[in-house]
């Protein structure tokens, strides 16, 4: 197979399909989503059989247990995929809305229309359900997409794509609106990242090594998420019960997610009342603490945190803890060591809450709630293609709107410029 000419064909087909999807009406797009959901429900056995091929190969290759876990489809996860598509069908269609229409001094009326981005490439790892989710979101936002899943999931992804194609076809939309890359050759990704004529945006979803590779190679703008070094700062004006509940939840509710707290900052004035209580909770839940000197005085027996700990996204039962003088030092710490993902303050002081919200430069800034809320569903987006730590375009959880853009529309009555 000539990878380059294969990828150019995929790119051209996507570009052509994108023009048809962009002008499809809401009912047609929703019909494609609903019919895809039905195809998935009808094809449960076929999907499980395809997934079994991938799972057998993965076990034969002795891939690790978490990866096999992510790769596994079940009757339940297949039903969830179909439900997810129906939920996307239920979301309002963002495309075509015109906002901010105003008459200008020249007499022209100027506004902005929400439009699709065009062609979106999504590069992801082992979870096959991303194939259905991503295809559904791109379609609803009027985009064509090119999906490159993990090589270990190819059979599963092909089986899911067959359901998507059935849905598209039955709704009268081109099957090429959703294409999966049919080769596991890694050179295909390199080609994809250079096709800026055919691809408008790349969304890499996966571990840091994947994201870094895409950042190195891509000539195409990205919606990406790099690090989640998230902080909770417990202010000396905090309600202690709230502080304990939030710091507990932010670390322990799930360890491996990007919005999990990795460093806890505690104001000196309240440290002796919250840190011993929290240390007990963390000890009971098997979380290793690494602290600065002041923390280690209050919580004896824990390891000293090194400079490197402050930069680290553990994604593991480890938490760095530092006692700070107050909000100023907390914000300095976050600016220096954080990853601009999600940071929270616990305080009853409204002025400090406002300062934290305004001055901490992260994609989500939270007062008196857990960092774990930084999520498209919790934010009411109805869906999520990923979380962005970039500042351009979409920041934080990216839903349908993040897969669209605004263009200017002008209505005149023969005006010319003088």
């Amino acid at each position: 197979m000539d990878i380059q000419s294969y990828m150019v064909t995929v790119g051209k087909q996507a570009r052509d399909a994108s023009r048809l999807v962009a002008k499809a009406d809401t009912a047609t797009k929703n019909r494609a989503l609903t019919l895809t959901a039905q195809a998935i429900e009808r094809d449960v056995e076929r999907l499980l059989a395809a997934n079994a091929l991938d799972l057998n190969a993965a076990r034969a290759k002795k891939l690790d247990a978490p990866l096999i876990d992510r790769l596994t489809l079940t009757a339940k996860s297949i039903a969830d995929m179909a439900d997810g598509l129906r939920q996307i069908a239920d979301l309002p269609d963002p495309i075509g809305a015109i906002s901010e229409l105003k008459v200008q001094p020249s007499g022209i009326k100027v506004g902005r229309m929400r439009v699709p981005l065009g062609v979106i490439a999504i590069i992801y790892e082992s979870r096959p359900n991303v194939t259905a989710d991503a295809a559904g979101l791109c379609l609803k936002a009027g985009n064509a997409c090119i999906l490159r899943g993990g090589s270990e999931a190819l059979h599963s992804n092909q089986a899911i794509a067959a359901c998507v194609h059935a849905g598209l076809k039955a709704a009268g939309l081109p099957e090429t609106a959703v294409q999966i890359i049919e080769t596991t050759d890694r050179a295909a990704v390199g080609e994809l990242l250079r096709m800026n004529d055919y691809v408008d945006i790349v969304v890499p979803r996966g571990g840091k090594s994947l994201i870094e590779r895409v950042m190195q190679e891509s000539r195409i703008p990205m919606i990406k998420h790099l690090d989640g070094v998230c902080h909770v700062y417990i202010d000396d004006k905090a309600d202690i019960d709230k502080a304990v509940r939030i710091a507990d939840n932010a670390k322990t509710q799930r360890l491996g997610t990007c919005n999990t707290m990795e460093t806890l900052l505690v104001a000196r004035g309240i440290a002796d009342r919250v840190l011993p209580r929290l240390a007990q909770i963390y000890r009971d839940k098997g979380i290793e603490l690494r602290g600065d000197d002041a923390t280690r005085k209050l919580v004896p027996g824990i390891k000293a945190a090194t400079e490197e700990d402050w930069y680290t996204e553990y994604l593991a039962p480890i938490l760095a803890v530092r006692v700070v003088d107050g909000i100023e030092q907390a914000m300095d710490h976050i600016a220096r060591y954080g990853s601009q993902h999600t940071d929270a303050i616990v305080t009853e002081d409204a002025t400090r809450a406002s300062r934290f919200l305004r001055e901490v430069d992260s994609s989500s800034v939270i007062v008196n709630a857990s960092t774990r809320f930084a999520d498209g569903y919790e934010y009411g987006l109805g869906a999520e293609i990923g979380i962005s730590t970039d500042k351009l375009h979409a920041r934080g959880p990216v839903g349908l709107e993040g897969l669209t853009s605004l263009k200017w529309v002008v209505y005149g009555e023969g005006q010319v410029r003088t």
Copy 2:
């Protein structure tokens, strides 16, 4: 001079200054803008003297006349610079506004706050007035900026920067919020484009070769404008007087701007009534026409347009003309040859106007008005840092809002995720 360490110093200073500018209140930022305007008015003689140094060097190097024209400051252009800064001071401050605040099922309130981008690098060519404009816009939007003007304008830019620094200092803001690169070594640009730790966004402003160099080298997201291959399509349902007026203005009001029409598309059913009239106007104004066969039958004696003409941004008294069957073929032509910048339709048919607005994938889409309106001032933005032909973030004319971003803000009362 060690360019790399110099640039790292500039970058770090910008990052530190950006945190202070981000939290400056509106009155402080406006005071800096007004005081800079006053400093510019007070320093007219000094600015003209610095500019004379640049002009003498440019003439000695026999740089071409248009460049020397762009380089020249006059008492009038200096007064305009000061007025521009006062206009920026009069614009509403976009920073800090919270929108879309909604209670979610968990009880948290989620909204979005408009925030600065951080550090903006602007790379531009010979016009020294960009130094004041760009500094003013970046400052008003709460950003620090690093300005790299043309080497031929260094003395002028330094003199303008001295006024900006006086304004910043008198308002209590760090002078490092606006830095110009003090070396003309081109390696400095290469360093700048790799400083993704210190620079959040790059805005290249200039000719195509500058933009292409920045695209090749930059590891930082950009707001950029590449080509302006703009079209006017005259539909067979057009009002002929409007069509003639618009097609005349779009080409001839200014030849060298990115929103100037480069290709005229005319529906077959109306071509014999508009093309001869337009050809007469263009002939009188010295515009060379290049047409397809159908055009050449109606306008004898003009050159045949080649495939390459359809792709060309002339920025010159040349216009490509094609007769098309109707709106469908016009939109196909625009999709194939256009640059997604600005395209207009002239028609009295509301359905066709809507289709054109929705389906033409350009940053500005216009009904019954000249393409020349695609401009930040004409659109009511109050100012313009540039025009973007990218799809992410800002499309089309970019004003203050394009120098900002939205972050998520969450208000809780102790909520945790379950």
